[in-house]
Each structure stands twice: as structure tokens, then as C-alpha cells.
Amino acid sequence: MRMMGKALGAVLMLAGLSLPAAAQDRLVIAGRDAGFAPALAKMVELYQAKNPNVKIERLELGGGPLYERLAVGAREKTAATDVAMLDDIWAPEFMARGWLTDLDSVGGLPGEFVKSAIDVSKHNGKLYAAPFVGNIAMFAYRKDLLAKHGFERPKTWSDVVKAAQVIQDKEQGVSGLVFRGIKGNPIVTSFLPVLWAHGGDVVTADGKAVLDTPEAEKALTQFLSFKALAPKGVETYNATELRDAIQQGRAAIAVEMWSSWAGTLDGNASKVANQVEVVASPGEVKGPAPMLGAWLLAIPADSPNKARAADFIRFVTSPENQKLIALETGNPPTLAALFNDKDLVAKYRWYPAQLEALNVAQARPRISQWARVETILGDYLQLALIGQMQPKQALTEANAQIARALSR
């Protein structure tokens, strides 16, 4: 018994030792996994080399888990994160609730950033985040395959369906198109360009749910027709699967191609080098509205190491490091000047077009409940996609749920 008591004492001491040491010069970075991870990993490596005494920890998470962790941490003021990587759609909630540090209070942020990306980083005129990855939803197609069957660049989603149908029928082992069908954020971001092109929307600027419209129903019906043209199992496709399908030549059209995925299209692993054209999304009854998908870096309000975190963020967003990230990992920069940089354009031929798209990019609804709205919409879109619900019913129910979420 006495021995057990001693053992317990020792354990409690060990546990005590790992309590947060606030005075320590540490930096805890919570960021995304997948294609984003190498960018932060590289930056941590370089920053650590310059600042050997800082204890850096880096966490890699998927989109959903990252949001959960950051939101819970911010609510509970756990002081567990110093640098948080945020999707631009989460930023309104984090800024409005006072969960982020005003960057001007910790030395400011130099640099000329792309306008749409800096816009989503501000709240009431104050800068709360640094644009880190200048992602934008583009559209991609195999110009060789489309030309072979007599198609030009598709101008509307109806054109896309037509071309995809012909290729699906005539090309052995090639699906007409591919999109991200897994529930949650991916299926919603695949659907939004189609919805917008039909003149529909999820939420109005003043925060009203508007999914129960004929426009939205037309958009969803068209979106569901994509499934028959996509590879089997598209319901579970995420970024990795979509990119593989295009690069291995298993699909002719990518309904969405984020610029950060496009980096390896011409690389060694690609079977379709220089055959994939990356352009702005098609329209339908309206012209295309390119969707912004910036990732930001911010300092949680409860971070005990704000000065260190700000220093790291300035390091990451410096011109030389933004260029390095783009060259080595394919994640597009956020500094406007870099899109016309000689080396970068040589490697990523679509960068000038991307800058234009970025300048007019449409951000997703800037409401603080977006994370919840997106989950609801994602759930219903997937129910419709796997055929368990009719489009109209899915939209009506989703709209009611979203209205309820917005009223809270």
C-alpha cells in the first residue's frame, strides 16, 4: 500500500511536470493536414533553424477536426494554441466572438496582399489574420480529350454535362467528370459554384436562408446529374481522390480544382502533364463567380506567446517564404506581386489568370454560423447524392434547419 502511495505520488508529479509552462518560449501551431502540411512543416523547419531556442509543436488535422479543436479551445480559453490556421469561412465567427488577437497590437503585418484575401481577414476595420494560402476554386479539363471529341472550353455547366457524357460513353476507362462528394465541407464547396451559376444562394447578405428556391432546385438537379458521369464511389471522394483521378487520367473534367491541388498536375507523378487546362468555373444563367478559399493564420486571443506567434506569422508571409512555399509545395501565395513572379509563372502557367480570379473572387457567406450551416447543407446534399432524398425535399429540409441555426 505504501508503495502504491509512493507510485501515485510520482505519477502525480510527472503529470504536474507536464502542466503548461506559460513562461516558456514555445509555439504551438495547429494547421491542416494533406496538401497544406508540407508548407507549414517547411516553415517550421526554417524558423526553428533561425530560432533554435523556441520549442515548436505542430498539429496536423483534417478540416472538420481542426475547426472543432480551435473552436472548443477558443471558447474554453485553453491557451493551447499560439498559431491557428483558419479557413476563411470560419474567420467571421472567430473574429466576431473576439477569439483572435488584433495583429496591429502585436507589431502589425507588412506586405501587399491580394484584396479579397485581406478583406476576409478583417472585422470592423481591424486586421485579425494573415492570408497564408491564396486558394481559389478553379475548374479543370483535359484539353486533349475535349478537343478530340469536338468540344471547346465549357462556358456553362450544361456544356460540362454534354462533354462529360460524350467522353464517358466513348473513352474506355475514363469518367466524364469528377468532384468531391464526401459530406461536410467538400460536397458543399463542389456544389456552391453550380448553385451560384444558377442564380441561387444559401444565405442572403442579411442572414436569411434562401435554399428553397426554384433556382436552387435546378442547380441541385444538375449537380446530381454529375454523379452518373463520375467514378464509382464519388460519394467518398475528397481532395486526394479527386487529384489522383485527374492525374492518373481516370477523369476528364474536375468540377472544382483548387489551385493548391493543381501544383502537381505537370509533375512527374502525373500521366497527363500539360494536358490539363485550369480556368475559372463555368457559369449558367449567370457568369462565373470564382469562389475564394483562402487559408489564414491567426493568433488566438488566449495564446500566451503572442509576440512569438506574430513573429512566426510575419516570417511565413514574407515574400521570400511565400515564394518558397509556392515553389516547393504548390500552395499558392497571398502576396499579389508573386502571381507575376517569373519563376512562379514558369512553374504554374495559370498564375496570372488566378490573380485576376482572386481579385474578383466571391467569398462564401460571411456569417458566424457558417460552420454549422455548411454541415447541415453537406448532410442533405449527400442524402440527395446517394439517392435517399429528392432534391426538392432535401433543399426544403436543409433550408428549415439552416433557418433554425441562424436564429440561434
Binding site: M4, A7, L8, V11, A15, A34, E57, G63, R69, T240
Partner: protein
């Protein structure tokens, strides 16, 4: 004969997933990102282990050890006296039945149902994101289990031994420590091993209550590896193997004890 072959065959079948994990942890990526069904690595490599060790994996293992030891220590310290009291004393108004019933409900209740208020309790105590907090939360799983198991073991210790000691004038603590605990040792060890395994594998509370990456336990870290980039199987397998070896070893220990008991039963 058929029985033996069937037994070995089934056993082999159920172990293939584990074999796959062991083998994959030594395969270079090109070998597992493929359509081959070869289990054994053709070109074995230690890269995945090296990556994990360089990434400070040992630290996470240590976290799991600290939490498991703490959970075991606390559940035995609180569970043994409770089990002793329930086994040896008449409690008024059938309190013992009420208490055991409550313990049973807790044992059977889904942890997620208590997670939200528990989060708020740990926060109020300032124990969020600490191993001590996780050790406390784990008591929800560990303490009911420890009390139930120890209750049986204490009842098996004949009271006459204690009565004899009492006639010799031995005080309560002396009796407990010098007579009951030594006789209870096998039971204590078995309980400790089971609680340790439970804590070692616990995922939900570690996911919810620990935020700082360097404080993660192994299962919480493994969950971050099972993500969008689906083909990190080499690293995942190496990680899984490291996390499994201590448990398999512990089961080997207890299992030997269990078989001995079973064989004693027969006679």
C-alpha cells in the same frame, strides 16, 4: 484432428490484419500503395519508425504511460478501500446495494453522455489539457470496473484470517496492509493490468480534454494520422505496432494467470 486444423486456421485468419500491420510498417510506400496482395515486404525499410522517433513519438508513449499509471494508481487507491468496505461491513439502509447499482449504471453509461459537463468540471478545476485531468476523467471508466473486480477478490479472502489477527490485537490498518493486501496481490495485479489496458486504449476523453499536441496520448495521435491523406499506411502501421506491443505483452502475462486458474478449476 479437424478440430485442431479449424482452430489453427481460424486463429491465423483472425491474425491476418495484425500481420498486415506488422508487415506494412516495414514496407516502403511504393509497396503498400499498390494492388499487390503480398503481405511480406520485399524491400524492408525502417523509414517509418525513424520518422516517428524523429518526430518525438517517444514523448507520446511516455504520456500514455503516465496517464495509465495515474489511472491505475488512483483507481486502486480509491477502489480497494471501497471494495473492502462493501464486502466487510453492514451499511445502513442497504446503501451498499444503492451504491453498487449506481456504480453499475456508470459502468454501462456511454462516456460521451457525460463528456460535456465533465469538460466544464475539468475546466473549473483548471485541469483541462493536463494529464491529471485525463486521469481523473478516466476514473469514470476505471473506478467502477476496479470496485466490481476487487469486490469479488476481497470476498474470496477468508475473514477468519483477519479475525485471528484481531485477537492478536492488530489494528485495522495493520490487518489491511499485512493480511488482506498480500492475499489480494494476484487480484490487484489483474485489476491493475485491465485498468492499464483500458486507459492505454482510451480515445474519447483524450480527444476532448487534451489540446496541446505534445501532451497527446497514442490513440489521440493515431486518430490525427487517420485522415484525408489516406495513404500514410506505413507510418500508421508502425505507430499502431508500437502502441500495441505493451498491451499484447500485458495480456500474455494475465492470460497465463487465467489459464492456470481454468486448469485448476477442472480438478
Amino acid at each position: 484432428m479437424i478440430r485442431i486444423i479449424a482452430a489453427f486456421g481460424l486463429c491465423a485468419l483472425s491474425l491476418i490484419p495484425l500481420l498486415w500491420m506488422v508487415a506494412t510498417s516495414f514496407k516502403p510506400p511504393a509497396e503498400y500503395v499498390s494492388t499487390s496482395i503480398a503481405l511480406w515486404p520485399q524491400d524492408p525499410t525502417l523509414t517509418h519508425y525513424r520518422v516517428l522517433l524523429d518526430g518525438g513519438m517517444w514523448r507520446l508513449g511516455l504520456n500514455s504511460v503516465v496517464v495509465a499509471l495515474g489511472t491505475v494508481g488512483l483507481s486502486l487507491l480509491a477502489g480497494l478501500p471501497a471494495a473492502y468496505a462493501l464486502a466487510r461491513f453492514e451499511l445502513p439502509k442497504r446503501f451498499d446495494i444503492v451504491f453498487l447499482g449506481f456504480v453499475l449504471v456508470i459502468k454501462l453509461a456511454p462516456p460521451i453522455a457525460l463528456a460535456i459537463p465533465l469538460y466544464q468540471v475539468l475546466r473549473a478545476l483548471g485541469l483541462l489539457d493536463t494529464h491529471l485531468g485525463l486521469i481523473l476523467a478516466n476514473q469514470i471508466l476505471a473506478l467502477p470496473f476496479a470496485i466490481w473486480m476487487l469486490l469479488g477478490f476481497v470476498r474470496d479472502v477468508p475473514y477468519s484470517f483477519e479475525e485471528a489477527a484481531m485477537l492478536d490485537g492488530a489494528g485495522f490498518l495493520k490487518r489491511l496492509l499485512e493480511i488482506v493486501v498480500p492475499l489480494l496481490m494476484p487480484g490487484l495485479v489483474a485489476t491493475a493490468v485491465f485498468v492499464a489496458i483500458m486507459s492505454w486504449n482510451e480515445f474519447l476523453f483524450a480527444l476532448l480534454f487534451i489540446q496541446t499536441p505534445s501532451k497527446f496520448t497514442l490513440p489521440a495521435f493515431i486518430a490525427t494520422l487517420i485522415n484525408e491523406d489516406e495513404t500514410l499506411w506505413g507510418r500508421l502501421s508502425a505507430m499502431g505496432l508500437i502502441a500495441s506491443l505493451p498491451v499484447l505483452f500485458a495480456v500474455g502475462l494475465v492470460r497465463r494467470g487465467l489459464t492456470r486458474e481454468v486448469s485448476v478449476d477442472q480438478h
